[in-house]
Structures are given as structure tokens and as C-alpha cells.
């Protein structure tokens, strides 16, 4: 794809130097969106007034000789489950249609503090429940490489927007695949950091023991810079971790020497379910890593095939709890004409939530209900421990792991919508990282049948910087 954006650090440097204007960059971004929105439907709303206002203020500050920040004048797109000023925050749901953020997400505040400018809100599966954006209550985003196919999800709008160069980067959230799967399907970089690395304050909660915030960008270098800006401890999210004292921005010259780097091919993420074309592309990628000096071996997480089952107990359980707050009384869809409070709750929730949200609330309610709690919810939590132990043991032997992102690759719009379980299986290779809290990144590894293939790389908890370094090296070797 033609590159209309420079690396993010260069854009910011030019704005700071006065050789490029934030106002022009915002217009460039808005024009690209206007140009491509009809065909791809990546965007729910633009935020032109606030973006222009902020850009102008930044240009004025530069003219006065003030230092703006590391993302000075860089336009970006926020997934529409981030609370952002300048447009409604809908999470692509009828429930939150017309919801106007009274405050901003911490991640957005941090991006703005460094001079970045939000220009639009991206489409997603409603409440981030899905792997294709087909669960959006508004419309389905189309894959930039083939408009008959899904962009992946739930951050499908963010991934498509970055691939279409509507902006240099976008924010995403990942509960079971939602940053990495769309990144792979759209041919961009998607980074799911260690659990707790980035504050979720001001991001519509899905499953709180799994949710993370992370960037989608065209390159690992860009993703690292954005991550470096948003990663921090936050008093508003008590699960957040202290930053790596070395930070996360990558050195300019990293080279491609992988001598001594031990990478395990995760057997369960490259198995009989993996489409042959994806396997072949990843096989070539592995050869290149080997040639660069990496010590490649095979590694196994024996309980991995259970991870999706664990996920589809824990995730709906937490979803049903988190969506309990939508009662139609304080905010969100309100079924006005009802007799009593109970009916108002039921009608507001019944009509405001889409099919998938209701499906997950029902499953969650079932696995948490008395009589089933031990058999499902507690059992899943225990198997989660088993997965954690197996990962810990495997990371004694290797520094990193690699595998496919998804077994099936790009499916067609409508192909899986009538079979929820089939749709869930698209996440087969993704949910493990969320369950054990480790960082995982999808980088473009080449093409198969004319469509981009993602390579998934995984590292132990808190090794985000190391993982980004490896991903940066892999990216250079693979392109």
C-alpha cells in the first residue's frame, strides 16, 4: 500500500520543527477518511471540530517556540469504546448510541498530552464482542484487501483505518484477540501488551481480568512509540503496573542479528487446524528468522486446546457482570414507556443490547448462577492456572514463542454469522495470551492467496520491550 504517512517520530519532528503543520495533517487525515469511508466503513464518527481546534493550538505553540511532545500533531483514530471528547462514544452499540463522554480515557489523555490528535472513532463489534465487526449494531467494516471479506475484530475499524492510511495509528482493546486478529487480517501491526501495562480507565469494560489496551500501527517502531506514551501506572485503574524503567521506544538501529535468541514454535498454534497456505507463509518466515541466527525449537503448551473453552466461560461471566451497569436509568438506551422499574430494566436491556451482547450475558449468567458456578466458572479459573503454569515452564526453555494468529484466515462477510461457536473458533490461537496475561503481537509475515498473513509472537509477562524489539527485527527480516 502506498505510504502517505512518514514514521510517527518523523511526523512529530517535522511539526515541532515547523516544516509541517498539525492543521494540514488533520485535514489530510480527514480527507482520506472522507475518500475511503463509503467503500470500507471503518469509521463511526469523525471529530473534526475538536481535531482542528487542537491542531491550530499546536501550530500556535510551535510558532511560539514551545515544545509540544513526542506525538506533536500526529492524527490518530480511537476505537469507539474509548471515551473521547468531540464525538459520541457508542462502543458500536445501540445501547450507547448518543452517549457523550463526560471525561476522557487515560490512554487518550496521555496521547493528547504528547500532542497527538484524535480525528475519528473507529467501528468495532458492539461492546468489542466479536472477531469480524459484523456484531457492530451499525454496520460491518470491509477488509481493505478484499471488500467481500471481514477485517477481523473486534478492533476491525481501527485495523482497516490504519491499513487505509486514514491516520498513522489507532487505539484498540484486546480481550481475546481484538487487536491482533484484525491487525493480521488487515496487514498491519497490532500489539496486545502485558495485562495491566496500559490503563483501561475510560474504556468500555468487557471482561476485566482479560481486557488490555494497545496500539495498531503500520510498523512496530510506530506501535512501540505509541505504547511508550500510553503505558503507565494509573490511579484510576488499580490493575496497572509500573513502567519498565528502560521505556518501550526502540533504538533506531536494532539490526537483524538474532544470534542467541531462543524462539519456540508453539505446536498448538501451528497444528492441523492451521490453513496450509498460512502454514506455508509462516514456514518461510521461520526460515528467515533461523537464517538471522535465532535458535528455533518446537514447544508445547499441552492444555492450550482448552484455552478457548476457558475463555468462553470466563469472558461471558465477566461480560455479564460488566454489562449489569446498563440499566437504562443512568445512561444508555432507556425504554421510556414502562410501568415500573423492573420492566424498565428488562425492556431497556432487552432492546438496547444486540444479539451477541445478550448471548454473552446469558452464558455468563448461567455459568455464574448457583448450582453451576463450581462446575463452570471456578473450573475455568482452575484450568486457567494450569495454562499459566504450563506457560511458565515453557518460558524456562525459550525466550519467545511464535505461531499463527488464526487457524482459518480471512473469512467472508456473512460466512460465520449464523454459527456463534464457529465464529468463536477464529480466536483459537489468540485467547491464551489474555488468559495468562502475557504480551503478544501480530506482525505482517507475508501474503497467502493475495491476503496478508500475521505472525504471532509471544513473550513472558512484563517483557513487552523485549517482545517489541524482536517484532521489529522480525518485521525487517520478513518484509
Amino acid at each position: 500500500m502506498a505510504g502517505q504517512w512518514l514514521p510517527i517520530a518523523d511526523i512529530a519532528a517535522q511539526v515541532q520543527a515547523g516544516t509541517s503543520r498539525a492543521s494540514d495533517l488533520v485535514e489530510q487525515s480527514l480527507e482520506t477518511i472522507a475518500d475511503k469511508q463509503e467503500e470500507y466503513k471503518a469509521i463511526i464518527a469523525t471529530t473534526p471540530d475538536r481535531a482542528r481546534e487542537r491542531a491550530e493550538a499546536i501550530d500556535v505553540r510551535v510558532a511560539k517556540g514551545e515544545k509540544v511532545g513526542r506525538l506533536a500533531g500526529v492524527p490518530f483514530i480511537a476505537k469507539d469504546n474509548f471515551l473521547v471528547f468531540g464525538a459520541d462514544t457508542t462502543a458500536a452499540s445501540n445501547m450507547l448510541k448518543g452517549f457523550n463522554a463526560p471525561y476522557q480515557a487515560t490512554a487518550i489523555e496521555k496521547l493528547e498530552a504528547e500532542g497527538a490528535i484524535c480525528v475519528a472513532k473507529a467501528n468495532l463489534d458492539a461492546f468489542a464482542h466479536g472477531s469480524s465487526t459484523e456484531n457492530s449494531d451499525f454496520f460491518t467494516t470491509r477488509n481493505p484487501h478484499d471488500t467481500s471479506r471481514v477485517p477481523g475484530g473486534s478492533s476491525g475499524g481501527s485495523a482497516a483505518a490504519v491499513a487505509l492510511e486514514m491516520a498513522p495509528f489507532a487505539t484498540g482493546s484486546d480481550t481475546g484477540s481484538s487487536i491482533r486478529l484484525p491487525a493480521a487480517f488487515c496487514g498491519v501491526v497490532g500489539f496486545k501488551p502485558t495485562y495491566g501495562a496500559v490503563s483501561r480507565s475510560g474504556v468500555v469494560a468487557m471482561a476485566s481480568s482479560l481486557d488490555v489496551v494497545g496500539p495498531l500501527a503500520r510498523t512496530v517502531e510506530d506501535a512501540s512509540l505509541v505504547f511508550d506514551v500510553i503505558a503507565d501506572k494509573d490511579i484510576l485503574d488499580s490493575t496497572t503496573l509500573a513502567r519498565d524503567p528502560k521505556g518501550y521506544a526502540l533504538p533506531a538501529e536494532l539490526g537483524t542479528d538474532l544470534t542467541g535468541t531462543k524462539i519456540g514454535i508453539l505446536k498448538e498454534y501451528m497444528d492441523d487446524h492451521t490453513a496450509p497456505a498460512i502454514k506455508a507463509t509462516l514456514g518461510q518466515a521461520i526460515e528467515k528468522l533461523k537464517k538471522a541466527g535465532a535458535e528455533i525449537s518446537e514447544i508445547s503448551i499441552p492444555s492450550m486446546p482448552l484455552s478457548l473453552a476457558v475463555y468462553y466461560v470466563l469472558c461471558p461471566a465477566e461480560v455479564s457482570s460488566n454489562l449489569g451497569r446498563y440499566d437504562g436509568q443512568r445512561y444508555g438506551y432507556n425504554a421510556a414507556e414502562t410501568e415500573d422499574l423492573e420492566t424498565s430494566y428488562k425492556n431497556s436491556r432487552g432492546r438496547g443490547f444486540g444479539k451477541e451482547a445478550k448471548r454473552r450475558i446469558m452464558i455468563g449468567t448461567y455459568v455464574l448462577s448457583s448450582g453451576y458456578y463450581d462446575a463452570y466458572y471456578k473450573r475455568a479459573q482452575i484450568v486457567r492456572t494450569k495454562l499459566i503454569r504450563e506457560f511458565e515452564a515453557a518460558f524456562q526453555k525459550v525466550d519467545f514463542m511464535l505461531g499463527a494468529v488464526s487457524p482459518t484466515g480471512h473469512f467472508k462477510i456473512g460466512e460465520k454469522t449464523h454459527d456463534p461457536l464457529e465464529m468463536y473458533l477464529a480466536d483459537l490461537y489468540m485467547t491464551g495470551a489474555n488468559l495468562v496475561g502475557i504480551p503478544s503481537i501480530s506482525v505482517p509475515a507475508g501474503m497467502a492467496d493475495g491476503l496478508p498473513v500475521g505472525l504471532q509472537l509471544l513473550a513472558p509477562q512484563r517483557k513487552d520491550r523485549e517482545l517489541l524489539s524482536l517484532a521489529r527485527q522480525a518485521e525487517e527480516l520478513l518484509i
Binding site: T194, S238, L306, A309, Y331, D340, R349, R359, V436
Partner: protein
């Protein structure tokens, strides 16, 4: 596991305060059954000596000083998404009959 009945689904919907159409009740009873069958494989796993995990990074009891912080928000701004407001308070239907 046997198929979730219509009554099972209606009971769940009541617990979750969801109004469902007849069509949805029908659809969910078969879909939920299928999903629950899939996750049932967990019952066969050997979990001897393992404890449940709630939190993956090992944090426990994260506390802060209980002090008022001024975030600069006005009540009217925070109430702007509320369907019905009276005297700066959220108005709902009668709770006690």
C-alpha cells in the same frame, strides 16, 4: 448435557433482567446449549492441586489514600447522559410499590 429448555432460558433472562422475544428464546436455547457443550470439556481436565486464578499479575489489595480529588467536572456535565434528571438527581420509576 441436555438441551436448555425454554423455561431455562426464560429463567436466565429473568436473572439477567433481559426482555427476550419468542424468537430469541428459541435461538438462545439451541445456541447456548451448543456453547455450553463445547466448554464442558473442562470437566474432564485433571486439576489436582491447582487453585483458581482471579488476577494474573499477582497484584493484591491495591489501595490509595481516600482523599477527594478535583477532576474539574461539574455535576451537570456528568449528568448529561441521564434519561431523566430532577434537581440534579437521577429520576427513575417507583422502586417500592
Amino acid at each position: 448435557m441436555s438441551k436448555l429448555t425454554r423455561d431455562d432460558v426464560l429463567k436466565l433472562a429473568q436473572l439477567a433482567r433481559l426482555e427476550l422475544t419468542d424468537e430469541e428464546v428459541e435461538q438462545y436455547s439451541s445456541e447456548l446449549t451448543e456453547i455450553l457443550r463445547y466448554v464442558e470439556q473442562l470437566s474432564a481436565v485433571d486439576v489436582e492441586g491447582l487453585e483458581p486464578t482471579n488476577q494474573v499479575t499477582g497484584l493484591t489489595n491495591v489501595t490509595r489514600e481516600d482523599e477527594v480529588q478535583d477532576y474539574g467536572y461539574e455535576a451537570t456535565g456528568l449528568l448529561k447522559n441521564v434519561p431523566a434528571v430532577k434537581n440534579n438527581q437521577i429520576k427513575t420509576k417507583r422502586m417500592i410499590g
